[in-house]
Amino acid sequence: MAESDSFLHLARPLGPLLAGSAPTTAPLNVGIQPQALFSILDHSLRRNADQERVIGTLLGTRSEDGTEVEIRSTFAVGHTETTDQVEVDMEYQKQMLALHLKANPREVLVGWYATSSELNTFSALIQNFYSGQGDGTWPHPAVHLTVSTEAGKDIETRAYISAPVGVTAERAADSAAFIPVPHEIRYGEAEKSGLEAVAAARDAEERSTTLFTDIEALERAVEEVLGMIDRVSRYVESVMDEEAPASIALGQFLLNALALAPKVEPADVERDFNNHIQDVLVVSYLANTIRTQMELSNRLATAQLTLGGESTNAESGGAQRGQRGKGGGRGGHQRNQERNAEEARA
């Protein structure tokens, strides 16, 4: 991955600067959200058999000063490449962009991606198109993201911005100096559980998995924690047996972690535990009671007609009964809620 590459960023004007036409080349940080990366990989899988690489548009947000770019989504753009010319479906790109912006008004065009690490003349051409005025990202630099998807090799992601290069304006139009910029994969809180589910399919033969129920997820998390505790205690043991090198820093870290354990009086624990477990169980009980009551009352309301002439009486009686029971349930419920609220306040 490109994170391991180190590079020095020199911001300097290059090539002939048409007055005001060059996008800035100030360094920026690129954050990539996983779904954008996943859709690039998906697009790469769906390329035509004879295509070396596919390209697409990157969309996302840019911070006020333009130094932070977050890539949120992408869409594929068709293009054909031969040895001496490249053709990008501009019309398609424009229409798709319009469609996309309709649904995501907050996202803007930030650049483009290609599914090979190679940078060539065509890359420069496309880059200049994306960073140009009008439809491009001007005055901000366009971000070029390469994701190599070559079989048998690691998937490499790299991010670049470009600076104009070339002695004349004509030469500058089809060349660009790609400047690598740092990038990282960022994922939000919301995606965590999704990624976890996706990652669970990682080791399965058929590459698929079913979703976990709450209790299964809990079990997995507990097992994971147990595994980690085991690893740490093995390490500590081996240090005590003088098999592994000791480290003061690690010791301090572990001590700090241990110090996080709360000191509570057993009586307090007992009390809190009892209060909470009662709340939980009561809510569960009431929820199920309400469900049963409602079902009963609805059943009585619809299923009474077999009784013939007495139907009306039986029905209203049933409905009333259902309601009375419900009233009780509700009262209990509110009481419980009040208790909850009190606890929250306390």
Partner: protein
């Protein structure tokens, strides 16, 4: 086609779709987000391979004036809006050009604590199953439940029985009794499976190995160095430890609120029904009175040798009240069932956690 006969039994969702839906739903949370899903229909499995969100049409301000009902959510109704059908057709046409499986297979929506069983969802799914394609599903993603720990993504379809009933709007007691439609029969849940492409599998493995591959590392020189090193940062694919959290009160409170809301709805429905019953009884009493009166009149006329007056005129004179639709209360029951299940599942894991905590803090108790 022969394969059309195979009923859908499972839904296979690509990782890409999962992440895209999560992104869209959590961005707009807590308002509802909706979008379209595309994919392939293979035998009895529906493979969902891509998705795109629906644009939300901002309602002009003046349309909110005459609203006594809760504020309408434009996004919730989006899947069946005319403008979106065009948007969807256009988008699918565009996606076809870049080799995406361009078949519409349904739509997705976000929910908040499982409160998705409502008229909007039913109508949207009805629209899809009727107008677009019988083999479509509704994916429901619940960001608030997903943040509790495990991902909540579920697939639903309307049962054929309910489709038939909804088409003719047969929701009075008589019809319901005839069709024996219960609230459990409204929605059929299909099992959801998550599927990764080869590339994504390899990418995930690579992410995992990133730290492991760099070989044995030097022991950190100081505490600060350790805390700022890469190991202290949370790895991207670590299991989600959020579900070990012990904060249960917000969840319970939210659920209680929702349940109370459902009870209110139920109460309104029952009073509506009772009102109907009373007015029906009143009308019927009036009709009987009228009929006896007419009979008596006819009897006197018969003795006077006059021609009898028609006895079925009451049909013109009296109008029986319309029976309120039972659909709302059915949906409400289904919703309450949903809440109850949700609470059950929550309680099962919470009690476990709580006993674990107690056992940890009071080690002596266990030994006793």
């Amino acid at each position: 086609m022969a394969e059309k006969e195979v009923p859908l039994t499972a839904v296979k969702v690509e990782a890409l779709v999962v992440l895209k839906i999560i992104k869209h739903c959590s961005q707009t949370f807590p308002t509802t987000a909706t979008g379209s899903i595309v994919g392939l229909d293979v035998g009895s499995t529906l493979e969902i391979t891509n998705t795109f969100p629906f644009p939300v049409v901002e309602m002009p301000a003046e349309s909110h004036f005459d609203n006594t009902a809760p504020k309408p959510n434009p996004a919730a109704a989006a899947p069946r809006a005319k403008a979106n059908t065009a948007y969807q057709a256009e988008m699918i046409r565009m996606l076809r050009e870049v080799n995406v499986d361009a078949n519409n297979v349904g739509w997705y929506t976000s929910a908040n604590m499982g409160n998705f069983v409502n008229m909007n969802v039913i109508e949207n799914q009805f629209f899809y199953q009727k107008e677009m394609n019988e083999r479509t599903v509704a994916l429901v993603h619940d960001p608030s439940r997903s943040s509790q720990g495990s991902l909540s993504l579920r697939a639903f379809r309307l049962s054929p029985k309910f489709m038939a009933a909804f088409k003719d709007n047969k929701f009075n007691s008589e019809e319901l009794q005839k069709s024996n439609l219960r609230y459990q029969d409204i929605l059929i849940e299909l099992p959801v499976e998550i599927h990764n492409s080869h590339l994504i599998t390899s990418f995930l493995h690579q992410l995992q190995n990133q730290t492991a591959r760099s070989g044995p590392t030097e022991l950190p020189a100081s505490l600060a160095a350790l805390e700022s090193s890469t190991f202290a940062k949370q790895p991207i694919l670590a299991p989600n430890f959020d579900n070990l959290s012990l904060s249960i009160d917000p969840f319970l409170e939210k659920n209680c609120d929702l349940l109370l809301e459902s009870i209110e709805t139920h109460h309104t429905e029952t009073s509506n029904y009772q009102y109907y019953q009373r007015s029906l009884a009143r009308e019927q009493a009036k009709i009987t009175a009228w009929q006896t009166k007419r009979k008596a009149e006819n009897a006197t006329r018969a003795t006077l040798k006059q021609p009898a007056l028609p006895e079925d005129e009451w049909q013109r004179l009296f109008k029986l009240p319309q029976e309120p639709s039972r659909l709302d209360s059915m949906l409400n029951s289904r919703q309450v069932e949903q809440y109850a299940r949700q609470i059950d599942s929550f309680v099962s894991s919470t009690t476990g956690k709580m006993f674990a905590v107690k056992g940890n803090l009071l080690p002596g108790e266990i030994a006793k």
